[in-house]
Amino acid sequence: MKAISHVAGRAIPFGRKNVDTDVIIPAHWLKTITREGLGKGAFEAVKKEAGNVFDDPEFSGAPILIAGDNFGCGSSREHAAWALLDMGVTSVIAPSFSDIFSGNAFKNGILTVALPQEAIDRLMEVAQTDPIEIDLETQTVTTRFQDRYSFEIDPFRKHCLLGGLDEVGLTMAQDDAIAAHEAKARDALPFLAKTPATI
């Protein structure tokens, strides 16, 4: 995972609410066995709408996406996060995110920033003409017009994002604790701790 601390640049003023992961990347793009190349399929249906922001050359390669409430709801497909990364988006700002998407985003080094709707409305306005800056260290979103919004982030996620840490490796280092739990479960809950060997 790539470390992330500061994101600055143009922001795609998408703004739509309840954007599901089928919209971010439709199912027929999920037949891949790698993580790359999904940017082409990102927001495929939206791109068919005349005058959509994704086809506006102004926002081509923009590192930030601004959306409405409940971004990333629906399917658990991590391809949604890979598609965003592939189109160059490394941070999404929205009033709220689905639980699964925000986890997937985090694990791919995408910074999700939750801000109140008023802030979103203002940033949507700024995004039309000017860049936006997000600083993870200070947990702030700023613009050149002196706008300044603070956001909350889970300390562990912040730590991992700043360091680009591999969560699997971190957990594998806790092997003793996992083995101890397994030993305890073998006695207490043997029916969960194993499956019949004969199948």
Binding site: R16, K17, N18, D20, D22, V23, P26, A27, H28, L30, K31, T32, I33, T34, R35, E44, A45, G68, D69, N70, C73, G74, S75, S76, R77, E78, S96, S98, D99, I100, G103, N104, K107, N108, D154, P155, F156, E167, V168, T171, M172, Q174, A177, I178, H181, E182, K184, A185, D187, A188, L189, P190, F191, L192, A193, K194, T195, P196, A197, I199
Partner: protein
């Protein structure tokens, strides 16, 4: 000794582990809390916990990148014995063998590649694998409970959001992304923050012809698609207590459509009777131990939830969706709403876009909306009860002429065999519908089963998202009985007019 007395839960009887999860507690707990506590490996200062995963279901779409990462890092699968792989999303639902019994190739090269990757990865990492042509193959969320692989009180994950389904047998089950699939394969754990708890009560008497699907669509219509975000839902009340396991699986399956990563229904005698004797179910001494523990899992009296709503069963009608979000529900007797009917400005905009996409005019009676396609299947509604409910409506009837494509897709090979043993396939075929091989099928347009652009589908699946059943497809979600009724009349129909 007080410690002995207070202990109602075997894992908590450990010898003085410093961990919070293993400390004694007499505070009333919810079902969710009890399962959570039994699986905490470690808790950090920031409240993140390392949670042990008892069962991991793997399918072909969300696993290739996870296996590849393990291979690159030289990491083995920690507990292949707790992992089960089965292909479902990509598989065509047409015949898998020719008349001579030879396996037919998958024509889509990308699907073939993904299916081949699972078939290669599973044995390479020592994981049990059910092949496309095995009798037990099916949709992971049908196969898990059916095989007894999914158990009450277990933590169950799969790289698929409808893993919430397994909550119907009282398991804490939720969907994960591919990085988490890799994490579970490598460590058999997940790093999680505990969710809030949300009690959804439905009490009273359901009217004739009202099915579990109507119940869950009604609930999502009330709470909205973000109503359960950050929460685990426990469905409570006599309606769920009286429901079959199949019905409970349908309800919990769609918890994710209400924004909740997991849904739960307390395991009871109905659950135990369902599980006993299944291939992966505990046996002998283990079965007795399991029963004793499972019976202790129900939410304690006096336990509190972070959020509660209570609905009346009598208010639930046969329910369909009219828009492109599962919260866009209406009783079948209703009309297509107008954007102005909604107080929230952004919802008004969404409804406008949605109605345009759906080709619907406000004020139109839902029963006047014609459908060209019917899909009965998916992890929500492809179990034997669902096939029976559809067949009951189809018996002695025929699909309408304007219905061009109507398929019934059993959730597994075993459901298919059972339905055929009961003669349901004949009823379905005689009614002019197709009887297919098990798989995810037209739920998500990853395989050849798709709804053409601009056409409508009466569908028993779980998502009516834009393009979900194929680019430009228009989905109306409903129960199997309602979808069968739509097949017969060629329009959205109140099934009670045909049956009962």
């Amino acid at each position: 000794m007080l410690r002995e007395k207070a202990c109602r839960f075997p894992l908590n009887c450990g010898s003085g582990a410093p961990n919070r999860a293993f400390t004694m507690t007499t505070k009333p707990r919810t079902l969710y809390q009890k399962i959570w506590d039994a699986h905490v490996v470690d808790t950090r200062d920031d409240g993140t916990s390392l949670i042990y995963i008892d069962r991991h279901l793997v399918h072909e779409v969300t696993s290739p990148q996870a296996f590849e990462s393990l291979r690159v890092a030289g990491r083995p699968v920690r507990r292949p014995d707790l992992t089960l792989a089965v292909p479902d999303h990509n598989l065509p639902t047409t015949a898998r063998k020719d008349a001579a019994g030879h396996i037919l190739p998958i024509t889509d090269p990308e699907s073939a590649q993904q299916l081949a990757a699972l078939k290669k990865n599973a044995p390479e990492f020592g994981i049990r694998y059910i092949d496309a042509t095995d009798a037990e193959q099916g949709i992971v969320h049908v196969v898990g409970p059916e095989q007894g692989f999914s158990l009450p009180g277990a933590t169950i994950v799969c790289g698929d959001s409808h893993t919430a389904c397994h909550g119907g047998i009282g398991a804490l089950a939720f969907g994960i992304g591919t990085s988490e699939v890799e994490h579970v394969l490598a460590t058999q754990t997940l790093l999680l923050k505990q969710s809030k708890s949300f009690e959804v009560r439905v009490d009273g008497k359901l009217g004739a012809g009202i099915t579990p699907k109507d119940v869950v669509l009604h609930i999502i219509g009330v709470i909205g698609t973000a109503g359960g975000t950050g929460h685990v839902i426990e469905f409570r009340g006599n309606v769920f207590e009286e429901m079959s396991v199949e019905g409970r699986l349908t309800v919990c399956n769609m918890a994710i459509e209400g924004g909740a990563r997991a849904g739960l229904i307390a395991p009871d005698e109905t659950t135990f009777a369902y599980i006993e004797g299944r291939p992966y179910a505990p046996q002998g001494e283990d079965w007795a131990k399991a029963l004793a523990w499972w019976k202790s899992l129900a939410t304690d009296e006096g336990a509190t939830f972070d959020k509660t709503i209570a609905l009346r069963a009598e208010d639930i009608q046969p329910t369909v969706t009219w828009g492109t979000s599962p919260e866009d529900t209406s009783a079948i007797g209703g009309v297509v709403p107008a954007p102005e009917d909604f107080a929230d400005a952004s919802k008004r905009d969404a409804v406008k876009v949605s109605l345009d996409y759906m080709g619907l005019t406000p004020g139109t009676k839902l029963t006047e909306v014609e459908v060209q396609n019917v899909f009965i299947g998916s992890c929500t509604n492809s179990r034997i009860e669902d096939i029976r409910a559809a067949a009951e409506v189809l018996k002695g009837r025929h699909k309408a002429d304007n219905v061009k494509w109507a398929i019934v897709v059993p959730g597994s090979g075993l459901v298919k065999a059972q339905a055929e043993a009961e003669g349901l396939d004949r009823i379905i075929i005689e009614a002019g519908l197709e009887w297919r091989e098990p798989g995810c099928s037209a739920c998500l347009a990853m395989n050849p089963d798709k709804v053409p652009a601009g056409e409508r589908c009466a569908s028993t699946s779980n998502r009516n998202f834009t393009g979900r059943q194929g680019p430009g497809s228009r989905t109306h979600l409903m129960s199997p009985a309602m979808a069968a009724a739509a097949a017969v009349t060629g329009r959205l129909t109140d099934v009670r007019e045909l049956v009962g």
